[in-house]
Point group: C2
Chain length 336, copies 2
DNA sequence: TTGTACGCGTTATCAT
DNA sequence: ATGATAACGCGTACAA
């Protein structure tokens, strides 16, 4: 059905090699180029990708692996933001994207599908302290860029933000506005972000001479864990809560409202991510803005760099974050 | 670097063809099979996908095209639900998924990437009344399954729900509870769902002997259009609003709250989709449940059918919907 | 049951 | 500048 180079060669009266040169921009006499181009247009020829990949070793396709619990993956806009960013950057260079989603991709499944010469490179989320899939990718010869990174990934290429520093900044903000008992609802145990954010929280709390373990409760990045954790923290008498992400903070606001507590007068609340809904919460949420879209697109660009300059060694990108102060911590603007 | 069939043949002292048979389950003597298997395990051999595709004509990869405005695509959980469903069903059969997202895929871009022998089939959203990409896919020889469909797609394979009927049912519900002036905030002009839902609304309104055009305002499936549209409808004196989707309904609830109107006492509100947040709105939202996840997975399964039985003709699946009545239309359960 | 040999459609090298 | 021709790695008739 589909036309091949040989067909075009016959149609335009040149050799297959010449047609290939025209297609790929090789050295061809202007006259012949014109002639072949005309046939190309007329027949709507498209090179076969499998054949091209086999012959050249490059596919123009990269893999994206998001090894995340589906409950989070498909509900938290954080991940669609990453996908959006990657999709943009990849489409810009007309490179294709193969996707593996969810937590069912065991190492097995992974190298069955991934390491088969069909992919020029891979972008993978490295959000777990232990992740055999990431390990396997890094051990393999396939160019890989991580989104996030573990301590062990210092020599890999990655795009990340400094969660520890950002959490410290946010916690310090809560202390600066006079809060004495700042609690923290942590993220999913086992995730790097959860660990880093606790670490930043602790650092700030300790610097203030307070007990860093007193007011930390477990969570899992969901709204539900915000509901539950907040009830616990209220009983512990907090006057501020730093939630591991915006979804959790949404739950915290609900729980406080149910208990009839005012935000921020009674309890200040802060989140992390600055997803779109954060500014629409009631009250609008103080949070850490990490450019999620930028992380996605930067990961793709980093992979391009890796592919274009294979000898340059790993590339590590740490994107900036920003403290966004809204009414959930500072209250209404005073109108005197 | 990567091992080839020839390498394995040498290692196990048989011909390449025999190794291939072992890998693909052809007829091989049990003794040799054992011997070759051992080598396969030891060397962790993976067939090269490009070569296999070229030789066999099948890739084990399907394309997924979501030709949607990024503003909607990455914010409305409807689309992540579809993706989730497809991802599940595809992973189950270990088939890969190539993704094209957003609205930048002009017909050109599309056949540059899509029609190149690398894809066994395609799943594409058919949400627009006019969509050259869908047209191009259907004209091509590549097996294609639509999610949604236009009138012109009657002979294509698709997975859809009966939006007209569901919208009729929902509108009828609003009339049944005694509302006299039922308004509608429509979806994005040009989308099939928007048109069908208006049609269903009109049908029910007309059946009740009312003016079907009186209380319809434009929208675009976003929360913002819910805010704006509701303000208009309030001024027109509605006592119920059917919103084209849940996001719009969320905006409607906000706008009503701002105006100090009670839901449902003053104005009843209903949405469409029954996404997860619908039940958490204040008050919980009456809406139409369409199994979004099921639509995605069913689309994938339909594509499998198409691939397995190419001569069976098109397959049309219409999934059921369900009216989910919550407090936004019937108010609190009376405690006498 | 097993091996030989050709074809899949392209890129890339080497002559011409 | 152009044309043969050899890879690329695998599937699969066909032969043995």
């Amino acid at each position: 059905m589909a036309l091949t180079l040989d067909d075009l060669a016959a149609l335009s009266g040149v050799s297959r090699a010449t047609v290939s040169r025209v297609v790929n921009g090789g050295p061809v006499a202007e006259a012949t180029r014109q002639r072949v181009m005309e046939v190309l247009q007329r027949t709507n020829y498209r090179p076969n990708l499998a054949a091209r990949t086999l012959a050249s070793g490059r596919s123009g396709v990269v893999g994206v692996v998001m090894h995340i619990d589906p409950r989070l993956l498909f509900n938290d806009p954080y991940f669609s933001g990453l996908l959006h960013g990657m999709s943009n950057a990849l489409a810009e260079k007309a490179v294709g994207m193969m996707l593996w989603l969810g937590d069912r991709t065991r190492e097995e499944t992974l190298d069955q599908i991934l390491l088969r010469g069909m992919l020029d490179g891979v972008i993978v989320t490295a959000h777990w302290l232990e992740d055999p899939i990431v390990d396997g990718l890094l051990e393999s010869s396939i160019p890989t860029v991580l989104i996030g990174h573990r301590h062990a990934d210092r020599n890999a290429s990655y795009v990340d933000v400094d969660d520890v520093q950002a959490a410290d900044t946010l916690t310090t903000h809560l202390l600066d506005i006079g809060r004495q008992r700042v609690g923290h609802i942590a993220g999913l145990p086992g995730s790097v972000a959860a660990a880093d954010r606790v670490a930043g929280y602790r650092r700030a709390i300790q610097r203030a001479g307070l007990d860093p373990d007193d007011l930390v409760v477990e969570g899992d990045f969901t709204r539900e864990s915000g509901l539950v954790g907040t009830k616990t923290l209220i009983d512990l008498g907090v006057d501020a809560i730093f939630c591991a992400n915006d979804a959790t903070a949404g739950g915290a606001l609900e729980a406080l409202r149910e208990r009839g507590l005012r935000v921020p007068e009674d309890v200040a609340v802060a989140g992390y991510d600055d997803l779109e809904f954060a500014a629409r919460l009631d009250p609008p949420l103080t949070t850490i803005r990490q450019g999620v879209l930028a992380q996605g697109s930067e990961a793709a660009r980093t992979l391009f760099q890796l592919l274009d300059h294979p000898d340059d060694g790993p590339r590590r990108i740490v994107l900036p974050t920003e403290l966004v102060v809204r009414r959930s911590t500072i209250g209404a603007v005073r109108s005197e």
